[in-house]
């Protein structure tokens, strides 16, 4: 028996005393099984039951014709650290300071009240990696894991150490990609020395090192394998060298960008190296990415490589929610729907130790989206978004502007 139907948000407060929400008869895409029709009961913001003919004394969302997925994750964004790209005053993801590299924590710059947050959340994005950049060094600092709630945005300030060995890394290393790798090896060796000779180094009784003490300290969890090294790299040959280096130093490695990763898919699968990629990129933006192709994600998935998606295209901050469209295009080019959904929900959650999110499981906080169509279709729009157990408003600055000007155009037409 479904007793109550939620007619308007004004009724919400009346019925919330029950603290239950029943999502009735919705098609669930859980990123594991084939989609299935079921009811879902949320109690106090937690997924309490999934089954048939569930009942509630609380409110009901009619899920017929709708779909449900976990909240969407984007694996490479600047959310909270940029407002307007061309206005430097608003840009905090990019540093040119070489005195703070590995020790830079981009989490310390994040603005939870950025207008990008409600906008992307209204389009189904609930979680993202925020990735720093450094204009003058291969080490950019640690990436942060956020959820799109201004009251509790930073889930983990450091889920990976970002190193750029792509075209940019080659340039800042002095022009040769070999120097970039040498810089990385040197830093890791010196971080080991730092651990062994910390007191001498801190007293200044040691030779000069290439990184400052705080940067070397920040590399300790990388050396222990607790903090993944996230390496931006595209060319297949470079990817293999990085994998070899990670094995030598026993590091946990995640690749980012990796446009030619498909060429070494089996090596990556064997080494259990995950890839953060935008499956939409199929053009040779540089000579490092000559092999870029639309079915790269399908090839990597087939080989057993774990995937996390970012995108779409160059706009993965203001339009971070469009990672869903990138995922859809991977499906159009051979990736199974379930694998695509995993790459924007559960895989990144697990990879970055946020396993209570990203899936559809009883006992987890509701972190999900109810869509008016297939969860990967670009035309689909969220009707409800839950972040970490809380139903979120779908209003954004953009929706306010659209409402205002629709009224004005209607008024004009009325004249």
């Amino acid at each position: 028996m479904k007793r109550l139907v939620l007619l308007a948000t004004g009724l919400l407060s009346v019925h919330l005393s029950a603290a239950e929400v029943l999502i009735d008869n919705v098609m669930i895409y859980d990123g594991q099984k084939d989609p299935y029709q079921a009811d879902m009961l949320l109690r106090d913001g937690v997924i309490a039951e999934i089954g048939q003919n569930l009942t509630t004394t609380g409110s009901i969302i009619d899920g017929r014709g709708k779909t449900l997925s976990a909240g969407i994750f984007n694996g490479n964004t600047h959310l909270g650290v940029v407002e307007v790209g061309a206005i430097k005053d608003t840009v905090d993801y990019r540093s040119d300071n070489i005195d703070y590299t590995a020790s830079l924590s981009v989490a310390e710059a994040i603005n939870p009240y950025s207008v990008l947050i409600p906008y992307n959340r209204s389009l189904g994005l609930t979680r993202a990696l925020v990735v720093p950049e450094n204009d003058n060094h291969i080490f950019a600092g640690s990436a942060a894991l956020i959820q799109l709630r201004d009251d509790q945005m930073i889930l983990n300030p450091s889920v990976g150490m970002v190193v750029n060995l792509g075209q940019h890394g080659k340039d800042v290393a002095g022009g040769s990609r070999a120097t970039g790798l040498a810089m990385l090896r040197t830093a890791l060796d010196e971080a080991k020395e730092f651990a062994a000779y910390k007191s001498q180094i801190m007293k200044g009784e040691y030779r000069d090192l290439s990184l400052s003490y705080h940067d070397l300290a920040a590399l300790q969890p990388v050396l222990s394998g607790d903090l993944p090294l996230i390496v931006k790299v595209d060319r297949a040959a470079d990817i293999l060298r990085v994998v070899e280096l990670a094995q030598q130093y026993k590091l946990s490695l995640v690749l980012m960008s990796a446009r030619e990763a498909w060429r070494v898919a089996s090596e990556l699968a064997n080494a259990k190296v995950a890839v953060i990629m935008d499956p939409i990129n199929n053009l040779p933006m540089g000579y490092d990415s000559l092999g870029a192709r639309l079915d790269a994600a399908a090839i990597l998935n087939q080989a057993g490589v774990e995937l996390v998606f970012t995108g779409m295209g160059d706009d993965a901050s203001h339009n971070a929610a469009l990672v869903r469209q990138s995922a859809a295009n991977a499906v159009a080019h051979g990736l199974p729907v379930t694998a695509a959904i995993k790459a924007i929900t559960s895989t990144p959650a697990r990879l970055f130790n946020a396993e209570k999110f990203g899936g559809i499981q009883i006992g987890q906080p509701a972190d999900l989206v109810i869509w008016d169509g297939h969860p990967l279709e670009a035309m689909s729009i969220p009707e409800h978004v839950y972040v970490a157990g809380k139903a979120m408003s779908l209003v954004s600055r953009a929706s306010r502007l659209a409402d205002r000007y629709l009224q004005r155009i209607r008024a004009f037409q009325g004249n």
């Binding site: 307007v84 061309a86 206005i87 092999g291 295209g313 203001h318 279709e377 659209a402 629709l406």
Partner: protein, 465 residues
């Protein structure tokens, strides 16, 4: 063939459109001089076979939808559309498939900013003077840009390639057929009018202001436009006097050609279409007023992130708005994006058009109009898919002055067609076949010609995918 650059015809046309600017109309002028055709097109469709697509669902491009219909292509043109067409032409089974017009991207830099994005190929913007109306984008196009064939695989059959937006006047655009060709002449769309790229706002004032020269402000931008149009009007008068003298039987030498002013004069006489990069609503209104001051019209505002704020004005002045579905925030003038922009402009009875400005996005403009439609409908605008297809086809054709030749699946038009494996409003849809003038230029199931650049570049035996 492109239209001969007939100066006297231009002068005659100028009189018609510039009467409001205070010039006396001239009657007919003798055709005594005309410039040689510069960089004439050499495009010729490969030999075509007539064919009929049976039982296909069609987004016509003009707002209509036809279900389960036959489309006959003959001699490179759409010949007939109907149910159970009597034809012995080669048959393609279209059941379960969708047919649209060839897609048109009215804002592309393919060829002028090609892949890979290296400085040797970066030929898209002559950023050395705020007014470079004398440059022509076609002289920078590298036909081997590997982006062209990817756009083709996404159904793009016609592109307007524009110079960049650093300048008040960036130069002439060129409209190309998206065919494999060694030369740009082999891609030039016959009889397509030229466009003139203009740019509002942040880019010109930033680029030249940082060099310590005009413009460094938006008021500097406007002064720069007006000065150029004053020079152009003067140049036109010089040619007008020459034409009058010839008519009067005088033995006079023609004035010296000036490439910059020749292009601007082409705008004043209505032969060259203004393609105006402009984000902000208030600046669009200013640009429309500059057009009124000097007696020309603007064909389209490109990027037009704030078009929805002046949608009734754009409709009233018959200026198209060329927009993205959702790109925003990369600069201040792109901050007030709404996903309903395209739908709102259309709702206000304006000419709404999608564009990419990007070699990745151009590969799936069908998904971009799908998003724009969904956003508009969420706002309650209640438009259907067939209607939204206009944003990518017939309205786009109007932007580049080719609405009589392309942009809809109608008898008599060029057979530029895309056959989709499913409804193109789905993100999972892909073109099965793409035709230009009735010739297959992309076949998802077949071997397609790849750019020279791609040959043997993965390894000696393997081409770029």
């Amino acid at each position: 063939m492109l239209k001969p650059f007939n100066l006297l015809a231009i002068i005659a046309a100028t009189m018609a459109v510039s009467a409001c600017a205070g010039n006396k109309p001239i009657e007919t002028l003798p055709e005594v001089v005309s410039q040689p055709v510069a960089f004439a097109t050499t495009y010729k469709p490969a030999s075509h076979t007539d064919f009929v697509i049976r039982n296909v669902d069609v987004y016509v491009g003009n707002g209509a939808q036809l279900d389960d219909i036959d489309v006959l292509v003959s001699g490179g043109k759409i010949a007939r559309i109907g149910t159970g067409l009597d034809s012995s032409a080669f048959e393609i089974d279209g059941s379960g498939l969708w047919l649209t017009p060839g897609l048109i991207d009215v804002h592309s830099h393919m060829g002028v900013y090609p892949q890979p994005e290296t400085s040797n190929h970066s030929d898209g913007n002559e950023m050395t003077s705020p007014t470079t109306a004398e440059v022509w984008a076609e002289h920078s196009v590298w036909p081997q840009d590997p982006a062209f064939e990817k756009a083709r695989a996404g159904g793009i059959t016609t592109v307007q390639v524009l110079p960049g937006s650093a300048n008040l006047f960036g130069g002439r655009s060129i409209t190309l057929k998206n065919v494999d060709s060694v030369t740009v002449q082999g891609m030039k769309f016959p009889d397509a009018p030229y466009g003139l790229k203009m740019a509002c706002g942040e880019n010109p004032k930033r680029v030249y202001g940082s060099k310590g020269q005009l413009p460094s402000t938006r008021m500097g931008n406007v002064a720069g436009y007006r000065k150029a149009w004053i020079d152009a009007a003067d140049y036109r008068d010089t040619w007008q006097k020459y034409a009058s003298d010839i008519k009067a039987g005088k033995d006079v030498k023609p004035p010296k050609r000036d490439l910059k002013l020749e292009t601007l004069m082409g705008v004043l006489n209505g032969e060259i279409l203004i393609q105006n990069h402009c984000y902000r609503a208030d600046e669009m209104a200013q640009m429309i007023d500059i057009g009124k001051e000097f007696g020309y019209t603007i064909r389209a505002f490109h990027h037009a992130v704030e078009a929805y704020k002046v949608a009734p004005l754009l409709a009233q002045e018959d200026v198209c708005a060329v927009m993205w579905a959702d790109w925003w925030g990369f600069k201040q003038e792109a901050f007030d994006m709404v996903r309903e922009n395209i739908a709102l402009v259309d709702f206000a009875k304006g000419c709404a058009v999608i564009h990419s400005d990007d070699p990745i996005q151009t590969q799936r403009l069908n998904q971009e109009i799908a998003k724009a439609l969904a956003a508009g409908n969420k706002l309650g605008l209640n438009m259907d898919r067939a209607h939204a297809m206009r944003w990518l086809t017939l309205n786009a054709a109007k932007v580049i002055g080719l609405e009589d030749k392309i942009g809809s699946v109608e008898a008599g038009k060029n057979a530029d067609l895309v056959l989709w494996d499913q409804d193109p409003f789905s993100s999972f849809a892909k073109p099965s076949k793409v035709w230009i003038d009735g010739v297959v230029v992309h076949d998802a199931a077949g071997q397609n010609t790849t750019a020279d650049f791609n040959l043997g570049i993965i390894n000696a035996e393997e081409d770029r995918p």
